[in-house]
Symmetry: C2
Subunit: 592 residues, 2 copies
Amino acid sequence: MYRTKTCGELRLSNVSEEVTLAGWVQRVRKMGGMTFIDLRDRYGITQLVTDEATSAQLNGLVEKLGREFVIQATGIVMERQSKNPKIETGDIEIKLTDMKVLNPSVTPPFTIEDESDGGEELRAKFRYLDLRRNPLKRALYLRHKMAHEVRNYLDSQNFIEIETPYLIKSTPEGARDFVVPSRMNPGEFYALPQSPQQQKQLLMVAGYDRYFQIVRCFRDEDLRADRQPEFTQIDCEMSFVERDDVLNTFEGMIKSLFKNILGIEINYDFPRMPYSQAMSMYGSDKPDIRFGMTLHDITDIAKGHNFSVFDSAEYVGSIVVKGASDYTRKQLDELTEWVKRPQIGAKGLVYVKCASDGSFKSSIDKFFTADDLRKVAQASEAEASDLILILSGPKTKMQTALGSLRIEMGNRLGLRDPKVFAPLWVVDFPLLEWDDETQRFYAMHHPFTSPKPEHLEYFYSNKKEDLAMVCANAYDFVLNGTEVGGGSIRIHDSKIQERMFEVLGFSKEDADYRFGFLINAFKYGAPPHGGIAFGFDRFCALFGGQETIRDYIAFPKNNQGRDVMLDAPSRIDHSQMEELFLESTYNENKVN
Amino acid sequence: MYRTKTCGELRLSNVSEEVTLAGWVQRVRKMGGMTFIDLRDRYGITQLVTDEATSAQLNGLVEKLGREFVIQATGIVMERQSKNPKIETGDIEIKLTDMKVLNPSVTPPFTIEDESDGGEELRAKFRYLDLRRNPLKRALYLRHKMAHEVRNYLDSQNFIEIETPYLIKSTPEGARDFVVPSRMNPGEFYALPQSPQQQKQLLMVAGYDRYFQIVRCFRDEDLRADRQPEFTQIDCEMSFVERDDVLNTFEGMIKSLFKNILGIEINYDFPRMPYSQAMSMYGSDKPDIRFGMTLHDITDIAKGHNFSVFDSAEYVGSIVVKGASDYTRKQLDELTEWVKRPQIGAKGLVYVKCASDGSFKSSIDKFFTADDLRKVAQASEAEASDLILILSGPKTKMQTALGSLRIEMGNRLGLRDPKVFAPLWVVDFPLLEWDDETQRFYAMHHPFTSPKPEHLEYFYSNKKEDLAMVCANAYDFVLNGTEVGGGSIRIHDSKIQERMFEVLGFSKEDADYRFGFLINAFKYGAPPHGGIAFGFDRFCALFGGQETIRDYIAFPKNNQGRDVMLDAPSRIDHSQMEELFLESTYNENKVN
């Protein structure tokens, strides 16, 4: 061992001990005849000190030290004259008696500090240096602790972690698979799993009762910001359970994470909100319930004032921004532009300012009397000094737009403190989604998701309206406006499964071709079962109080799916292609 | 929840409780007016009972039950008349009051018993049924417990589990990579990692100090028996350590596994045997030290008797089979054929029988007097009633052949009890291997493996003999004749690294092209570091007392790299190929 202690552990009680430390030179400072060196390792920073009275040889070595040199330093622990309360070892320093440079360093391309001067691209290229910074070290340590806690909790609940294969079969449904050509089976390909969904259901058929796995998943999607082609899931499945058994089990897991990782004791049941309520109250299937500002349906009140925009709208809805009645014309114009962006898609924004004296000022004064506006304010639960924002148009689209506006206003008003946590279950999602173009229903989750038992009557109806009303026995875990987990009770009854395929318009041949293998397994005694999967990268980021997942992944890819540090993907040898019986049809000149 | 208790937990203390169980019908037996049903779940088997006095409806249901039906059963816990001491619930049975078939089952293609009647191929195809059998359940549960124990131990030792990417860059050195075409980066490929070697070394450069990961690795090799294209490693790396720090740390981990998984307390230090000794004493770099039968070099004694086979041999070696002097001609002929198989490669086998009366009988009586044979027996440490087996030829080849013969005789004599464990470190491997064909040295491990500090002098010599003598600072963990782990102290000194590349005959350009990225990272302050990786599948199998790893993997592949259950790999849609800018050059008709 190159050290007797780490840079994070020495205290006043160690004074006068001889110790050897090893680590990286964070900083060298000269003051009068003294030289101070901050030595850093994973565990902390310890100050080393030499003075002119020290041996010439040692001073000569110290002279040559640069940032990020790796050294081994021996000396005596001394009490500091001027203590540093900001670091845990701030009461002591090491008076150097010996030092050895284990490895020099060229000057790093950016500073290794909590706030670095390196741009994102540069830090990605030198990820191994960026990873030296405290925020990333804390992020990866948090991730380790969370994974460990998840495993301990699930183990204590009789779950078994079972590894499922990464080289599986490509499935024609769902997102795009990454594929892996097989050399031993020429012309054939494995697929990397988008999730171990089939495998975990098979493990239930196999009687494993409670399965989990912290597992990598792969999806070859066009990458939106903060998506990764490979991501990690806490994947779980249970047998002989109903919905509330699953929710209670994982509510327990989440509470234990809050307690043991963040020290936050949550001693209430997580709210369980139906999808329909989430949409009508929050305009989102993943509401952030840290703050109010809920949606109000004011369609009835808004109509009949000769304002054609409202009169022709399916839905008129409002949110109330507390104490914002003094918003300026400019601020309101800017908000109007914001909601008209294509991502939001509103045609315009109507506002009503509720002045502190009880009067109103609105962009619809021409059509609405003061009394009309009072009714709008009442229906919106607005008070004096509040600002009412109103959108109108197709119902679902405008609810969603109001939901986005609500989040935006929450951000602007500082109502979304990342240190405050509001967990939530969203339940009772629609089972089916009608697609006008193909004139058929699609499974909102996947075709193995069970309808709610109390909706079976509608499920067997042949009316489109009835089928559209069927709720799935599915659920999402939502934290602070982010969907962190989702799952469902699966269909285990072959008659219901057949009906599901019928509703989705699959012929028996279709169904067999797509899912035959799972359907077949289910003939041999499938237990009732259900499960859930959590997005682990996002879960960690939220626990760390961050929006972006990239710092919670040791070696992430960029938005083009590239690892810029490794410079991957890359071309491979022609001989490698030949062994795989492959030829590239890509013509670089043509495309670039 | 479909049950109030599991099938493994009811005892006499539960008698007269009403309980509901759910599980699979293992067996239905009629005896007189009684019907007994063995109900199975992951946790055990519980006997259900009905009699003719039970309701007609319930009896009607029971009538229809078949093997592997999934049922929910409610009843009263009763003390059994005839107890079954073989199962933990054998003191009680459940007198049925209600029952529901949750799912019927078609008749499984083989019996779900400890010893199944299904062939290997059939069981692989219906893996989800094979997984219901106790031996597989026990194997996967053992695997879960081992992984959990490894994580707890390493966490307690300040190791952080860090996930490294699965989509990385193809490297031109080493075994064959599986590659993944990138759609977003046309013409380019990711590679699946053969191990996270580079990433874990980068994590040391990044200051993470102690890393581990239980991680999947991929190798596109022609599959020998009991190899898998994807396999799991316990991958570890530490900074500021020397060899013994690594060995001590992981010896601690292994001892904790033995103690907490198998209840075996190992209170001695694992032997640390130099490679040269392993070869000379056991004819293997992974000796099984559960039994003796060590090799003896009798070259000097064997020569000079006009027996040209010995006289012309570089090496003559023997092993002694205790008490086997009564081997018949037929047995010896069969052994001779065994050593002459190409895998062993001996030209023939010489034997000396040491009769109980002190006389000798050998296949070389023509050349060796009784006195000569006595000397052979003495040098081989043979006693009366023993059988001496002798091979001669090129040294390393014959040592290895004797090593194989030793293992074979160990098997035949029952000296290799899978319940007995003999852990061992093999150390001081040669750093370099000379290849006559290409007239150059190859790294025996990889080019980042450090030479032993005390051999640096030879390392800088230009003589081939000197370089061949350099030992690597590398080590293997061997358990019962199987290499379970291996690792090394890495080179962190750029001068030694340059010399290594020079010895391997890489130009600076070569080295940069192959390893530039890691060499570059090392310029920014690389700490001294080293690590180890354990083959987790094999480790589990050995702990389970099994030779084959297949039962310790939930969904393994066969020898052609196929998942016969999923029927993967498979053809993919032409559109998928087009998106990836790929064309298959494989002509099925031509090859088949």
